[in-house]
Structure formats: C-alpha cells, structure tokens
Symmetry: C2
Subunit: 449 residues, 2 copies
Amino acid sequence: MSPPDRISTVFDSTPGSKHAYKSSADFRSGRLNAIANPGAVKINVEGAFIVDEEPRSRSRSPIEAEGVHYESQDIRLPHHTGVVSHVAVDIGGSLAKLVYFTRELDSADNGGRLNFINFETHRIDLCIDFIRQLNEEHEKLNGSSQDELCVVATGGGAYLYYDKLKEALNVNVKREEEMQCLITGLDFFITEIPNEVFTYSDTDPEPMKFAEARPDVYPYLLVNIGSGVSMIKVSGPKEFQRVGGTHLGGGTFWGILSLLTGARTFDDMLAMADSGDNSGVDMLVGDIYGMDYSKIGLKSTAIASTFGKVFRMKNAAERNAEDGEGLSPRDPEHPEDDVKFRPEDMSRSLLYAISNNIGQIAYLQSEKHEVKHIYFGGSFIRGHRQTMNTLSYAIRFWSKGEKQAYFLRHEGYLGAVGAFLRRQPANWGRRNSLDDATAPLTFKEALLS
Amino acid sequence: MSPPDRISTVFDSTPGSKHAYKSSADFRSGRLNAIANPGAVKINVEGAFIVDEEPRSRSRSPIEAEGVHYESQDIRLPHHTGVVSHVAVDIGGSLAKLVYFTRELDSADNGGRLNFINFETHRIDLCIDFIRQLNEEHEKLNGSSQDELCVVATGGGAYLYYDKLKEALNVNVKREEEMQCLITGLDFFITEIPNEVFTYSDTDPEPMKFAEARPDVYPYLLVNIGSGVSMIKVSGPKEFQRVGGTHLGGGTFWGILSLLTGARTFDDMLAMADSGDNSGVDMLVGDIYGMDYSKIGLKSTAIASTFGKVFRMKNAAERNAEDGEGLSPRDPEHPEDDVKFRPEDMSRSLLYAISNNIGQIAYLQSEKHEVKHIYFGGSFIRGHRQTMNTLSYAIRFWSKGEKQAYFLRHEGYLGAVGAFLRRQPANWGRRNSLDDATAPLTFKEALLS
C-alpha cells in the first residue's frame, strides 16, 4: 500500500534546512513575550514556528509499533529555555494525542520544541510507556526534585483512564475540560503560530493558502471531527456553547471500512480513497435519469445516493446467478462469483459522504448561529486533500461563496495543546486569552447531538 | 426471518370487515365532488377512505416474486364509477412505484379503488409485465377503443426507461416532473384522504395520532427519503423549491447492510434492526468517558460515534490474536476467530444513524427556510416504528418541541399518486390544487445536495 496523497508534501523542506517556515514579521510583531512569574510554569512563544523534518522524538523515544504515529511538524520555541514539568494528553474514543516539550541544549539558541504524537486509544499502554520514558528523562535531566512531572489530561479518557494513569505512572494527573481545551488550543494556533491556519481549494493553482491573522477572531464555529463530531460556537476565550454535532464521524468511517475492506490503519484507508472512484458504488443522478436532472440543477455526475448502486447490483447479480443466467456485472469470466466492489471505491465514497455531510451540517449550524468563520479540527482530517477539499467545497457551495472553511496543520492536537497551555500562568501570549483559566466554564447551553 | 415490527399492525381490521377506517365527517365536509368535464378523465374522490385488507390486486394479478411488493392499504373510491384509462409509475433509483385504478362492478356502490404496488427498479421488466396485464384487462373490459391505456411516468426512470416502456407496452407514455408530482401527491393526501397523515412518538401510550386537517397547509417542508433524500420547501400548490437534501439515504442503508449482513430485502434489514442493540457497534459517550459527560448534557448512553466501536475492537482482537493472547471479545471459545459483530446490531445502528442525520438536517433546513411543519415521505420509511420515531424525536429534540414531524400511510407513493392525478381535468378536488397543471414549473432556485 503506497502512502496516501497527503498535504504534507506541500511542506517539503529545502534539503538540509531544519525548518521550512519561520515566523513572519506580521506574526511576530505585537506578540508579547511570556511574563516572568516565578514559581509557575511559563512558555516563551516568541518567534515560534513550525518545523518540517523527521521529528526528533522518533530517534529519542523509539517506540515503533502499529497504532503509534509521530507527527513531522514540531513547533520550535527558540526562546523558551526553561524546564517544563508537564506533558498533556487528550484521550479520545479512538486516539490519544500527546504533546510535550523538549529542551534542545545543543542548539545555538538554547531553545526547545513542542512534540506531537498519537496512539490508538486501545493501545493506551503504549502511550503510558511513552510518558514513563519522558518522566525518566525528566528526572535524569532535572533530578528528582519538587518539580516532578505532571500529566494534564483531557478528553473522555481523562476520566476513563484516570486511575490507570495515576497508578501506572505514579505522578500527579490533572484533568481539564475537553471543550475548553479545544478552544484554548485553537485560539493559540490562530493567534500565536505562523503558517498554522489555512484555506484549501483544489480548483486553485495553489490549493493551500495560509490565512492572515484577523483582529476579529470571534465569533467562530469550531467543528471538531474525531470519532464523533462536535460543533462549538465560540464567542470569546471562555464563552462557548456546543451547538450540535453528528455521530457520523471518523469512527463511522474507520469502523465501516475496516469491516468492508480489511484495512487496518486510517492511513491505509485514506490511501485507498485516493485511488478510488466513488461511482463504482454510489448511485449518481445519471444512473437514475440517464441524463442531467437539469430542472433542479443536478448534473448527471452528482451523487444521488451514497452506496446506492450496491444493493441493486448485488441483488441483480445474485438473481442472475440463481436464474442460471450467470452474468455478474464485474466478473463475466466467473459467473458463479458474487458481484465485487472495489475497496478503493468504497473508501472514496464513504470518505466523501461523511465529509460532505459534516460540511453541510456545519454550514447550517453556522447559519442558525450567525457565524461566518468555520474552523475544522480533529484527527479525522489528517491533512488529507480529499477530505479538506470536500469540507471546503461544501461550505463554499452552500453559502454561495459567503463563508470559508479553515484548517490547521496541527488539527488533531487542539485539545492536547489546550490542555498543555492551561498549565500556564496568567497574562502570557499576546491576547491574554488564558488569564483566569481556572474560572468556572460558561457553557450556555447543553445540546445532545 | 420473521416479518419486521411494522406500524401496519396498528391498522388490524376487525375480522371480516372490509375496511377499518372510513372517512370522517370532518374530512368529508367541504370536499367538492369531481366537476363533470366531458371528454377528460375525472376521478370522483368523494368519501374516499383507506382499506385495510389483503389487496385485491394480489389475487387479480398474481405476479409473485422477490422484489415485488403489494401494499395492503388500497384507497377505496366509492363514488367513482367510470373507466380510468391511465396508470402512473414513479421510477426511482431503487424502486418503481405503481398506482392504478380498478373498478369494482360487483360492489354495492359500483365504485372502485386505487391500488399500490412497487417493484425493485432492477426488476423493471416485472413492472412492465404487470402494466401489460393491466392493459390487457383494460382492453378486455372496455374494448380496444380510442381510450387506450396511457402510462404517466415520473422519477428518473421516466427518462432512463422511456424508450423501453414505449416499445415494450406499445402505449402512450406521458412524463411528469418528479418534484411537482411529489407535491401534487402530498397535497392530495393531506387534503383529501382521511386518516392518512399522522404524527408518531413511542413515548405516548398511543404512539400514532392522525393529524387534523389544517386550513393553513402552506408553507411546509417535504423530506422525501428514497435512495437519496430531497428536501423541498412548498409555499403553494405550484410554488416550491428544492432547498437541499443528502445522499445519505435509503440506498446507503440498503447498500452497506447488504454488504455487511447478506440481507437481501429491505424488510429483512428492518426486521434485523428491530432485534438489534446499536451499542454492540456504536461508541457511546460512556465508552469514552466511563460516565456521563454531564457538563454539556451528554448522557453515557448517548451515541458518540456510529460504528465507532468496530475499528477499536477489531484491531484489538486481531493484535491479540497475532500476539498469541488469542482473546476475541465475542468468541472466547474460538480465539482464532476474528471479532464478530451482530448483523442485527449493525442494522439498528445504521438505521438510527441515517434517520437521525436526516432528521437533524431537515430541522436545520426548516429553520433556515422558516417552515414549521415537516412531512416525511419516501419508500425508506415503510411505516417502520424505529425509523419514524427517530425522525420524529430528532425534530422535537432540536426544535425543543416547537416543530413536528408528519408521516403518511402511503409515504412511498407521493410521486406516483401525483403523476396519476396530474392527468386530471381542472377544478376537481376541494382545494383546486390541480388547475393549470401544465403551466411551467416555478422552480425558484436550483440547489445541488
């Protein structure tokens, strides 16, 4: 299986260069340095930028196993030189996302970097082993002092695995609320990290365009696509409301495809989708009409029904076989065979259907809640071109070009980064978005998707 | 496979009774008789009512085959005594729905009835055979006069199979526009047929309640669920707009389930869903949190991700098998087996997911287009309790009880009945909804779902 056609190829570094992107003057100007606050953890984010190279963490902590994924887009913090005594983990239904800081004492600037790694949740033991390694390194470097490692945990697994984490690691485990972490993380990426947020449209010669920082960040809609999908209207740093969602999400895609195709990793499924043709399983308008349904603007190539061809073809083939006519649409040489559908076609169809459905609901929620900017996060996206293009197209199509979908290069780590940052002291960062971070959450309304 | 738990059991007739429901005074009052219009077809709908018995058509035209479904809810027209020289067929992506009138010369009132039958579209030849039988009967009864049988066709198949219909039957084939037929049919059912429209909620002691006729029929949203889903805002008899839809529809349910379960009929799939438990495959909030996610009102039993348990359980079992631990969650006796998911659980999960998704989008579209009443039609519903309850609950939940879902006992035949009626002369029926039926359609806008 060849690797999927992922957007990361856009970021190919110049050979030998340690980082493809540095922070621009635009981004750097106006950013506050961390404010000294003795006794509390502080991260200096001045001059932060994304590094495109094989992650250092891979060589340093070589846990190599199926179900473990090292990201290749660390965030370099050239001006943070201190020790950080916490790691953050966002444990969802399918993936546990880990963020941690490593010092780079051998670098010219004496700085360090944020590292990103995820584990399939059912391999939570590998994640715990990894944190144990980090803890051992931490103690080796800094001594077994009062500053022992703290794990900041969020997501449902912060509750489900709380006892397990505490017992296995024998460290302090602090829990942070999931939605608040997502918002904190997204706000950080929007305002602090250059070349993090982008728009995508494959009809443009340059499909990916980095978004300018905006003074009017709020309100926006965050659509977080993990196993399930949450849609959160954000009106301010601590003012947000889960307005809806859908349970047709990443877990649906992974679950159905693992049954239909035998694929065992998300990346295999995405790679299959890249070489698939959804019309092998989808019923198109042309399959029903034999032509465009032009009166209502439906082209013959428009999808009428996801997987809508399957039942009809399968039953027809089975009946033909029973009737002794023995003509299977795909296998004229083997009339006894059942009709077969290509795993690639099924992958592409389902990926499109789930992405497009989320896009439509996101648009409709943005209309109802009067929000123009829509950010898509979560590990379902994985920088995959087809996924982003479908989401982006759905927003443009339904809004007649009035609204825009935004993506992030660390889309899967909003919650983990948010949890990491919520250990911060007040008043760091240029928007002071994290002051009073321990105040009660202001969920205005609770809605079940 | 036992028959599915369908709503039709609600209509059990008194033994020996030929009809369980007669038209009420409410409905009959104010209804105009057909206006005489010599030379044109006219249907007298006075006193029309739904008949609950084995359909007469079954004994009269005994095509018995998989993929052919006779409805048991004919509509009796006690005052229509004339010959009707047309039949109507609505040929969709998965089903061809046929409506035709039969005289009952042996009955006391000398009236007749509308008959309803559908065929899987890939068995269109059976449908054509059936129409040929009707044509032969028609000629036998009425002689081969100028009033030869006419087929009024709508749906995509009216185009795809136009030549085939004409050649195989050697009759006149008239085509009618699909959306217009749906509206015409629905308006007819709402205003002319007693005990046709109902609401459904299984939390009530009597889940099914027939809807009162309303003077303010318009505007409403029609959500037609066939292979795909169309959502149509209707502002008047000829004023409507396809505002959206989704291609996650009946075809998706039938297609995925035929691959996953081997079921070969829709009814088998619905029967499986009745005895399934979606938590066998769905990831619930409790599977992620180990408890409620109470801060945002998500109970531990709420679905977080449709099929979200599958990937995790499947991969865990496969890895255990490879590691020699050999513990499959479902099959401790057969460690070499892959983890198995019950077809019943998968059916229930997918039926819920697709219904709930349509319900949410329908609600959001009704908000955007400021419509309060939402009618659900199309052959996906099939009077199935779980489907209707899910759709109904979704509308109530999202609208906080402000909006209501309506269903129809002939939900699959809106288009076919509409096509049948569009052969009518002007000014019949009490709302005159069919006058000027050949005027150009007023599609205000064309939108692609």
